[in-house]
Subunit: 331 residues, 2 copies
């Protein structure tokens, strides 16, 4: 165990009271400058650091926020966390990271353990597999400030920062339609999560606006992993009937499909979603939708800190941007 120097050790060393030390270190006006000088000197000499638990217990706040993401090891989330950490650090807050790993039970467990007191506020992006949101609504009932980003739960009246996902998907789909392509498939993520549903809706809206009838089989729903993208493309190829273009709701699935296409010597225009950093260094640079994840993180963090300070929640929607690269151009 770490042998700690407490405030009373400093007090004893100077033969003054504990309260004098505390006030001196906080630059309280009713302590003489001479005493402050001595206290600061002695505190430094003894290497005194206040015990943060005692401080937190006393103050009822810990200057810490928690971030819950499905997986930290995805560029979108690590960039968002980067933005969050930036704002947090500027405001003297610490950041705790939790991964739900996209499994509902993990998420429940994390949220429950957070529900009381451990942190001053929570920023979360919900797990793919989450079917209900009782754990979150309970946490909110307890008064915990909560801001969702990207994957939000619209029924909860808390803060949110998200992208206009439908619009991003609409733009990508329209980009195909404008090239005269009509038979466009959509690879969707699990539609119980709003982002995937919105992207599917954006796709459908674009198709409808251009008068294209979408067959149910044109939409495929599965987590957007590289493996799933590859599997999907394999099945399309072995199925024999290929689309003229594919609108993927995620870059990883698009990459998986791209590799299979390369192996099989086929080339179908495709687009991804998220602008993962690898998009423009792929052998076939991938058209994708930029979500400005760092900025999203910064905005979410700022909103949370504002809420902690008593300001009201907001619901921010960021405009996506279609970044066109060669993968989506018909040859």
């Amino acid at each position: 165990m770490i042998k700690r120097i407490s405030i009373s050790d400093v007090a004893k060393a100077l033969s003054v009271s504990v309260s004098t030390i505390s006030r001196a270190l906080h630059d309280h006006p009713s302590i003489s400058e001479e005493m402050k000088r001595q206290v600061r000197l002695k505190a430094k000499e003894l290497n005194y650091r206040p015990n943060s638990y005692a401080v937190n217990l006393k103050k009822g706040s810990c200057k810490t926020i928690a971030v819950i993401v499905p997986l930290i090891n995805r560029n979108f989330f690590s960039s968002a966390i980067n933005g969050i950490e930036e704002i947090a650090q500027q405001n003297g807050y610490d950041v705790m990271i939790y991964q739900s790993r996209n499994v509902y039970e993990h998420e429940r467990h994390i949220v429950n353990s957070l529900s009381f007191g451990k942190v001053d506020g929570v920023i979360a992006s919900v797990a793919d597999s989450s079917k209900d949101y009782l754990h979150y609504s309970q946490m909110v009932d307890y008064g915990m400030p909560l801001v969702f980003f990207d994957r939000i739960l619209p029924d909860l009246h808390v803060g949110s920062v998200r992208i206009d996902d439908a619009k991003g998907s609409y733009m990508a789909t329209e980009h195909f339609l404008k090239q005269g392509i009509r038979k466009i498939y959509h690879f969707s993520g699990p539609r119980n999560v709003i982002i995937w549903d919105d992207r599917a809706k954006g796709y459908a809206a674009a198709m409808s606006d251009y008068g294209v009838q979408v067959e149910p089989s044109w939409i495929y729903e599965n987590p957007t992993t590289e493996a799933n993208g590859a599997k999907y493309m394999q099945s399309l190829i072995s199925g024999g009937e290929l689309p003229e273009a594919i609108n993927f709701a995620g870059d990883y699935a698009a990459v998986g499909a791209m590799k299979v296409m390369k192996e099989n010597g086929i080339s179908i225009p495709i687009s991804g979603y998220a602008c993962e950093p690898f998009c423009d260094v792929l052998f076939n640079p991938l058209t994708s939708v930029d979500q400005f994840s760092d900025d999203m993180g910064r905005k979410a963090a700022q909103m949370l800190l504002d809420k902690i300070d008593g300001k009201p929640y907001n619901n921010i929607v960021i405009e996506p941007k279609l970044v066109i690269r060669s993968s989506s151009i018909r040859r």
Copy 2:
């Protein structure tokens, strides 16, 4: 402020003492089963959660570890954190994340604020710009368990998990040499950080073993960013004298160079380092050295938890693996 239910609220509701509640909830043998039942029921009914600061203050431990990385938004680090979080979660520990952003002053500030009490232990990867390690050695003197990973400070007698960087670089260089290539340049990171220095040494060792005299100008030292890689390649091109191959100490610099080569219609075999996920989806798949970052994170976390439990430190060196792709093959 959050209105909290405290243990005394539960005690009042049942007209028993606070200590009975505490013991009942901890399944203490001297409390009757009937009482335990009632307490658990009432605690649930009131939604009581123990205040973690009070518990921490009392127990002197907080079941939290801190992770300091240069930048979370790099695959290597987010993967390592993924591994750390996995082990931490399994053992009931929380994880706090701090980014040094590769600036020494940030790192100092973080380490100082952590030095006492805030966490039970620290896992760190030092910043590129760190010139001294007083802040770390102070923290260690205070008794804080510390495990370095990847970017270690060898003078400090603490735990460490790292890759045999020299070997990884040796293998990549040898891969060129075996193809009969001799004029191989090395793009190094800042050599005050041990990983970059080791990689440079590995390169030099391979060259020496194959009897190749390395000119000082063959080694270039700069942070391994995409921009620097591009700039480097530009300068080589405009300098007129091109190498036969380049061994990059980082994937990002290699990608930057690769793009410039493509724009200029040149093709020099190159290798990277880190096996970023984009390596095999590049337009010219990049030969790189796999560092097994998830595993590194897991091992570091396990060592730290062991140390917290009183076991001694270790110094683990992981064997790297050269993953050969097309970028390094001479045409």
